[in-house]
Structure formats: structure tokens, C-alpha cells
Symmetry: D2
Subunit: 134 residues, 4 copies
């Protein structure tokens, strides 16, 4: 179900993001950083990082809802801990609390540079559970 | 200065974002929504909205720093108020408080659909003032 | 209804917070700053400011729900723009978007010092609409 | 140093908060919940929880700054995961990244009810490092 949803997500495909692990309440994925993902001084753009955070925190929430339900992001906060230096971004989303109406989850984004992994951002989001529009 | 910085921002150009107004502490811009900006049910992707928020809130902060300074996003929170339905996103960034070290600014993102403008997201961010890396 | 709810809020009464205006989607109130509201260098404590933000943003949301409904805070973010110097805090909560399940509102907290009013904090929150527990 | 700072924090003492563990980058503490800490339906007030989050996340940051430096909260976001039911709140603050100018830390707040510990809130904050005012 998550895989199907992924294939239909145009912006995710456009960026080139790949999901590498799907478990109940946990998602992992990665993005090969290309020139278009960078800002003016060569770091990974904050908007790319926010997008990755939204994707993995949201998909982690989505793994826990019912058959005819989906989630929408109510709000997301991203803290930019370290400069986004590197050629690959690796990210992880996980659920803190899954309620009937709201799911709270977090995301960690790492950049991989010369085989060192650095936590570049941490995010927390609130996701509303809704019925799939017919 | 802001215009020069804009031209060097690869991810912004990749998305197709255009800045339409630059004043001290205020930035406006717009994005024509293309298929790649949407998620699986056709709404503007949350990551696109977060990127717009980061761009205009950050550029608004940037208009207020010194010649050899720039800003980096310390954190950004986005509230998704309404579904991103529409063909154009219009956005506005403005500074709440500009300190020597930190600048606080906000962003509003509107979607334009059939000549009606709807506030689809509101964001607040903290930007650190840094010296331009040599 | 809001007034009744207020009287039952122990922590609010303990702090000494007074609501001064109640309109649909808008709340105003004030707090006389006493020594116990301050931190170690004499500024209004961040926790007091967060409490004021939660109260006015939450009550503003509460003015828009049904008879047998109430709101609970899902999340709240506070930006501390200026030091909390002053003898009175004045605050304002207002709704950005009221949905069936979620209400988004904001709060502004001002400190009043020598007849000058300074915006010391800005907050945004997400409030879940729930049925009043029986 | 942290202990000295604590004793001078009026609002913390007023609430009755006790710090139980101080390590570099880590703080733990607890609060016995009294009637004045509750809101109208008997749960721990969101403002009390925000205050605890600010205290432990901020003190955790403070353990890592220089002799003549202190920290001020730039912003704080709190997610309210579960109702604050219980007689004791226990909380933990820890640093994610300590920079020269900004320290990012998080806080977890648990409520203790009938010997069960429930995570009631999770917070993330940005703290600015400043020189101690003379």
C-alpha cells in the first residue's frame, strides 16, 4: 500500500527519492544529491531536507492507518543542525504516538560524506488521519 | 544582492520559483504549479510548500543583513491550513524581529484557483546571521 | 462558556491571568508580572510566556467549537523575539483556520514597560476539537 | 553552576520543580503535580508541561557553554502526545547539537500514574548562546 502510494507521488519521483525500508511505524529512504538539490553555496537546500522530512515522517504515520484512510500533514517543524554537505541524504521517519485522529512522528536526516554520516536535520510533525477521498 | 543570490540557488530555479517583489524585510514570489509539484491526490506537495516558505522567509531575513553576511535557516515550522488546490502558488515572507545574530520571520503561502486566493500555509522560522564563507 | 471554562482553570488562576476580551475567534488578556513569574536574570520566564500563548491561542479556538465540544492542544511553537522586560504582559490569541477536527491559531505576547509595548513572543498552535468528556 | 542558576529561577521554584540529575548535555528532573498545576478537566496544564520542557532543554544546553556564557530560548515547540494524567511529572532534556552560537536540544515529559510511566509530551528547542550580562 505504501509502495503504491509512493509511485503516485509526483514530487517525490521528481526529486529522485527512494524508500529503502517499510515497517509498521518506521520508514527509511535515501536521495542521491544532484546539483539541482543544492542552494547557492553548495549545501543541500533546506526545502529538499524539509521535503524528505515530510515524506518519511508522513509515510511512517501512513503505515499505521486503516485500509480506507490516509494522512495529511497538519504541521511540520524542521531543525537544521548541521550544514547539508554530502552526496547522499539518508533519512528515517518514526511514529511517536498514533491516535485515532492524530499521529505524531519524527524524522532524522543524515548526509553521507566520505563515508561519514552526519545528522543534518531533525523534524517533528503532526499528521491528521482522514478517510481517503472517494 | 538578493537577485544575485537568487540566480545561484539551484533548487529554486529547478522548481521554477520567481521572486516578484523585494523590499527591506519583505519578499513576495510565485510558482506556477506543474504536475511534478503535486502529491498523489493532486494537491501541491507539502515539501514544495515548505520550500517556498523557507525561500521567502529566508530571503526576507537576508534583505536586512550586512554586506558580507548571509543567513542560514536554524529552524522552520509550517502549518498546513488548507489543501493546496490550484494552479499558482503566491507567497510572502516578512521579518518579525531582526537581531544581530538571529532573525525571526514568517511566511504565508496562498494558492490561486479560479481567481480565488486561499491561504494554504503559514510558517515561522529562525535564521542565523553568519559571515559569508570566503 | 469561555468565562466558565476560565474559572475552572487552576493553573491560569494560580498565575493570575485575566481575560479582558472574548470574541468569536479572538481572545485578549493580561498578566501583572510578579517576582515569581521571572527567571534568574529578571526577565519574564519562558514558561510563563508559553502558558499565556497556550491559553489565548487555545481559548480563541474554543470560541469556535460546538456546545458539547472542547479543544486540546496538539502542539504549540513559541518564538521568543525580545527579552521579557516589563511589569505587565498583554496577549492576544486569534484563529487562522477553524476546521471540523483541527483549529490553527496564533498568539502574540507583548510586555508593557514604561508605557512602551514590545512584542516579546509569537506563537502558533494546532488544537484538536474533541467531544467534552461526559 | 547549574545548581546555582536553578536556585535563582523564581518561576521554577514557584512551581516546585526539582532537578534530579545533571550531566554534560543531559538534565533530568521531576515535579509533584498539585491542584494548581491542572487545567479545568484535571489534566496537567499545557503551560506547566511547556515550562518543564523549556527548563530541562534549556538547562541541558546550559551545561555545555563557557564560564561567562548563558543561554536564552530562541524558540520551543511542544507536541502533546497524551493527556497529562498523573501525580508526578518526570522530565529529561538532552542536547542534539551544540554549536558556538546555537544549541539545539530536546525534552521528553512523562507522567507517572499508578507506577506506569507515559510519555505525555516531546519538545524541541533552539537556544542562543550569549555572554552573561555584567
Amino acid at each position: 500500500m505504501v509502495e503504491e502510494k509512493m509511485e503516485l507521488n509526483h514530487f517525490m519521483n521528481y526529486l529522485g527519492f527512494k524508500i529503502t525500508k517499510i515497517e509498521a511505524g518506521n520508514i527509511e529512504g535515501s536521495l542521491k544529491i544532484e546539483p539541482q538539490h543544492r542552494q547557492q553555496i553548495g549545501f543541500i537546500h533546506g526545502g529538499v531536507i524539509a521535503t524528505l522530512a515530510d515524506l518519511v515522517a508522513g509515510f511512517a504515520a501512513y503505515t499505521l492507518v486503516g485500509n480506507k484512510q490516509t494522512v495529511v500533514t497538519a504541521e511540520l517543524k524542521i531543525s537544521y543542525l548541521n550544514p547539508g554537505v554530502g552526496d547522499t541524504a539518508f533519512c528515517r521517519g518514526f511514529v511517536l504516538k498514533a491516535g485515532q485522529k492524530l499521529i505524531f512522528s519524527e524524522a532524522e536526516i543524515f548526509a553521507n560524506n566520505d563515508n561519514k554520516e552526519v545528522l543534518i536535520a531533525k523534524a517533528s510533525g503532526t499528521f491528521a488521519v482522514i478517510d481517503v477521498p472517494a
